[in-house]
């Protein structure tokens, strides 16, 4: 009976996506000039494990593609191929394609076969060219046949595909219109010259007499010889990319050179590849003092070619590949570690809910216990107090279970910035700090989109082009920094850049022209910056599709306030901008101040409160066009009568008899007029929208100790609602 493997699919998908993330991260970290072996190994292992898993589950398209990828990566891992920008791009594209394939299979949809085939072809081409270049290159046996002195049997480089003495013959016959098409053979010679050693023979037979010559037509042709270890046909063809259709091009491999220093050691030119065991025997018998390694991974082409020196810059002759049977390659992914376990999100949510209920029940018990009397009551109450402490600890522990490091969100930015910077022609240095800062999973999930928008904004509109930057005396490379830290019981996430900063004048002009502010309004810098959060506000010259239309800063702020957080801007023209987001540690619980308005109780999130005070007659005034205001720290703040806003009968309408809670939201500060302050507590947030809907000014509800429901206020929405009321 066949085992039903479908139960393991989910784990496979999850682990594969994670592995692809680590592969992408490694690729982005890779220094093309000096790739760290450990990174290359990581990348290889990812491909290998996904290949294995997909083959096991019968996902043959994924297995086949990953197999090609693995082969290419093995060449890189074994230093038989050099990591180039081209290969790095190819590998990044492979990550994308694999993600697509996995998603498609997971959703039981069809894979885009064409895309996969195209990329797979490119991978194969890379590999084939490598192998082709080396095919006729070696015979070791002739050398090893007789006992050679240790000196001669120098280093065995595992390079089944390395043409240490390859020579390419290139015949380049441009058509006359080559110049007119913008091509310059000189450029191609230069590039070829960088690939290896170039010898050029010009053919001038077609060059007419001076008088007849048309200076803009090309009459010359060239035969060239290019030798070098790292050269393969694909690289040469790339050099001539732009000339397609404007020339006749012929590239072929010459017979191996007899003049390379390496071959001087050999008595005969290499011709055949020795079978493995024969070679092993020879090598063993040789007893060379040098380091010899054979790669078992190379597909049946184990070869040893003694070279006295680096035949090509890429291949370090002394570097051998450790015998590493791929079958045994360990994948140290998250799944292989027994000290942690995977838990489904639903289970954690259930746990959180249950703990939340416990908190409410405990609060109810405490409430009931207040009315008890007698000695037993005392003991009961102290028992309950202990219970309350335990509950708090339990709650915090469970909260921590749901917390994940913000690196999960940050990790997508290197790739995104790189692609974006390339597209926009800007030079960006992305710095990530505080990646270990932990926040609640739900907050984490929802903070991603606003951050993406802010980073895109910085790169697109903030950081200037290299020319503009240089002209301004700045380094042509702009810096965008993402930082996260815990600050005063909250999380602070900051996106900052050293770009051009916000242009206050343009913002003011735009706001005035849209009637958002009056022509004579005087605004502080902070207030001007805050204008960009108004819906439909964008002073970008043109909305590039990069930052997206319709995803304005107003949506960013709304997303953040929905999370119970806030966002502030600090910006200086010419210097840069900082967007500072403050978020609560968790969505499930909020620290709130209970206030009474009439018979109703409302919860005001502490994060929004500045101060609470009692008004005196002298503070209060009425300004025309602004209604009731009071003075606070040199400013006049509007008074919001909650009883009016919510249609509730208050204890008192007299401002001096109630209390004012100064709160901020939507970039503004107001004074909330309430009857009484009832106390501060942590409340579990319950959704009002699940069964009812959204109420302006209300972010959710909670269940108090007596079992009744209290509404939790959303200051931003509340202030907006109050403004509209005042305007009406």
């Amino acid at each position: 009976m066949a085992i039903d493997l479908t139960q393991f699919h989910d784990a496979f998908f999850e682990e594969s996506f994670e592995a692809l993330d680590s592969m992408e991260a490694a690729l982005l970290k890779l220094d093309i000039g000096a790739p760290e072996p450990e990174l290359v190994n990581t990348i290889f292992r990812v491909a290998h494990s996904i290949k294995g898993g997909s083959a096991t589950f019968g996902f043959s398209e994924i297995a086949s593609f990953t197999h090609s990828l693995e082969t290419l990566l093995d060449e890189l891992r074994g230093n038989r191929m050099q990591v180039t920008f081209e290969i790095s791009d190819l590998l990044l594209k492979s990550v994308d394609v694999m993600r697509e394939m996995l998603r498609a299979v997971q959703a039981k949809q069809t894979i885009d076969a064409q895309r996969v085939a195209d990329l797979q072809f490119d991978l194969e081409l890379m590999i084939v060219n490598r192998a082709a270049a080396s095919a006729p290159a070696f015979t070791a046996p002739a050398v090893f046949a007789e006992p050679t002195p240790p000196v001669a049997a120098v280093v065995a480089v595992v390079e089944p595909a390395a043409p240490s003495v390859a020579k390419w013959l290139i015949s380049f016959r441009p058509y006359p219109e080559l110049f007119a098409r913008g091509n310059d053979p000189l450029r191609m010679m230069r590039e070829l010259n960088e690939l290896g050693e170039l010898r050029v023979h010009v053919k001038d037979a077609a060059l007419p007499a001076f008088a007849e010559l048309d200076p803009q037509s090309c009459y010359l042709a060239w035969d060239m010889e290019l030798s070098g270890g790292a050269v393969d046909e694909a690289a040469i063809r790339t050099v001539f990319d732009w000339t397609e259709g404007d020339c006749d091009l012929d590239i072929k491999l010459a017979a191996p050179s007899r003049h390379s220093p390496a071959s001087e050691l050999l008595s005969a030119a290499p011709a055949d590849l020795p079978p493995d065991d024969e070679l092993d025997a020879l090598l063993a018998a040789n007893n060379a003092a040098t380091h010899i390694a054979v790669s078992a991974a190379a597909p049946a082409q184990a070869t040893a070619a003694p070279v006295a020196q680096a035949a090509a810059p890429a291949a370090t002759p002394l570097h051998g590949v450790k015998s590493d049977a791929p079958a045994k390659a360990e994948v140290h992914g998250p799944g292989g570690d027994l000290s942690s376990i995977r838990v489904s999100v639903e289970k954690i949510d259930e746990l959180m809910n249950t703990v939340g209920e416990l908190v409410i029940t405990q609060a109810m018990l405490s409430q009931l216990s207040r009315s008890l009397e007698g000695p037993a009551a005392e003991k009961f109450r102290s028992g309950l107090a202990q219970l309350e402490r335990n509950m708090r600890e339990l709650q915090e522990s469970v909260m921590r279970v749901r917390m994940l490091p913000i690196s999960f969100v940050f990790s997508r930015f290197p790739r995104m910035s790189r692609d974006l910077a390339q597209r926009l022609g800007k030079h960006i240095d992305l710095k990530l700090t505080g990646e270990n800062t932990e926040l609640d999973k739900t907050v984490l999930e929802k903070i991603g989109d606003p951050l993406v928008h802010l980073v895109r904004n910085s790169i697109d509109h903030g950081i200037e082009s290299p020319e503009v930057r240089t002209a301004a005396g700045k380094s042509p490379t702009g810096t965008v920094q993402l930082d996260a830290c815990h600050r005063g019981g909250n999380i602070a996430v900051e996106v900052s850049d050293d770009g051009g900063g916000l242009d206050k004048d343009r913002i003011l002009a735009k706001a005035r022209s849209r009637g958002m502010i009056g022509p004579n309004d005087v605004l502080s810098d902070e207030q001007i910056h805050d204008l960009i959060f108004l819906p439909g506000f964008s002073t970008a010259e043109k909305t590039t599709d990069v930052s997206g239309r319709g995803v304005g800063m107003d949506v960013v702020r709304r997303n953040i306030t929905e999370l119970g957080g806030k966002i502030e801007i600090r910006s200086e023209r010419g210097v840069g901008s900082r967007f500072i987001i403050t978020l609560p540690l968790t969505l499930a619980i909020v620290d709130g101040q209970s206030v009474a308005v009439g018979t109703e109780t409302y919860i005001v999130p502490l994060i929004s409160i500045v101060e609470s005070l009692q008004l005196k007659a002298g503070n209060i005034s009425r300004l025309s066009g602004r209604g009731e205001v009071f003075s606070f720290r040199g400013d006049y703040l509007p008074i919001v009568r909650l009883h009016e806003l919510f249609g509730v009968e208050p204890r008192t309408r007299n401002l001096q008899e109630g209390l004012v809670v100064i709160a901020e939201g939507d970039g503004r500060r107001v004074g909330l007029f309430v009857d009484d302050l009832l106390g501060q507590q942590q409340v579990v947030i319950k959704s009002l929208e699940t069964n009812y809907g959204h109420v302006p000014g209300v972010s959710g509800a909670t269940i108090l100790g007596d079992g009744s429901v209290a509404l939790i206020l959303d200051l931003s929405g509340l202030i907006r609602a109050a403004s509209m009321r005042a305007a009406a």
């Binding site: 809910n353 939340g356 209920e357 409410i360 819906p535 109703e600 806003l645 919510f646 249609g647 509730v648 319950k686 959704s687 009002l688 699940t690 069964n691 009812y692 809907g693 959204h694 109420v695 302006p696 000014g697 209300v698 509800a701 269940i703 079992g707 009744s708 429901v709 209290a710 509404l711 929405g717 907006r720 609602a721 509209m724 009321r725 305007a727 009406a728």
Partner: protein
């Protein structure tokens, strides 16, 4: 607070007949599909929601969920009644699209669970200016009474739409916003 969960009898095969919980409002008897009924409980004070439609009395804590309570008399523009000891809240589950919402309706009292055969359901006549057809599935005779079968999904669904519309405007007033 008497709480009892309405028994959910065996589902009859196919839509030819189904079971209905009947309840009384004023002098009329209404019925809702038993599958929609979550529980029945007694009346308790609700927390008001600012500027909700007047028939939405407020919200209650129902085993940890915040559930809105609707006064059906007000919804149907019947005479208002006092809430007495036997005033009951039927907690219903409404399905819209892929989501499920819980709702409580205040009724005068709960009656029996009856079997209804689809064939016996007659279409509802136009009742005055109310477009009752919207949320009335039909009328069915049950032991000498006429039971008005409610399409609770439609009834609550339309309420939800109104509430959603109101909440898309930032302000509470129905006047158009200044922005």
């Amino acid at each position: 607070m008497a709480t009892n969960t309405a028994a959910k009898p065996e589902q009859s095969t196919g839509p030819e007949s189904y079971q209905v919980l009947t309840f009384v409002l004023g002098s009329e008897t209404y019925g809702v599909d038993i599958l929609r009924v979550q529980e029945i409980r007694g009346w308790s004070a609700v927390t008001k929601i600012p500027h909700a439609p007047s028939h939405v009395l407020g919200v209650l804590n129902l085993r940890g969920s915040i559930v809105p309570i609707v006064d059906l008399r007000m919804r149907f523009a019947l005479e208002r009644a006092e809430y007495t000891a036997i005033t009951v809240i039927i907690v219903l589950s409404v399905v819209s699209g892929t989501s499920r919402r819980d709702f409580g309706v205040v009724v005068d009292g709960v009656s029996d669970v009856v079997d209804v055969k689809s064939a016996e359901v007659r279409p509802a006549p136009e009742l005055g200016s109310r477009s009752a057809i919207e949320y009335i599935r039909g009328l069915v005779p049950v032991s000498e009474r006429m039971v008005v079968l409610l399409d609770i999904d439609r009834l609550i669904g339309s309420d939800m739409a109104t509430i959603a519309d109101n909440s898309n405007r930032d302000g509470f007033d129905n006047a158009a916003s200044a922005a």
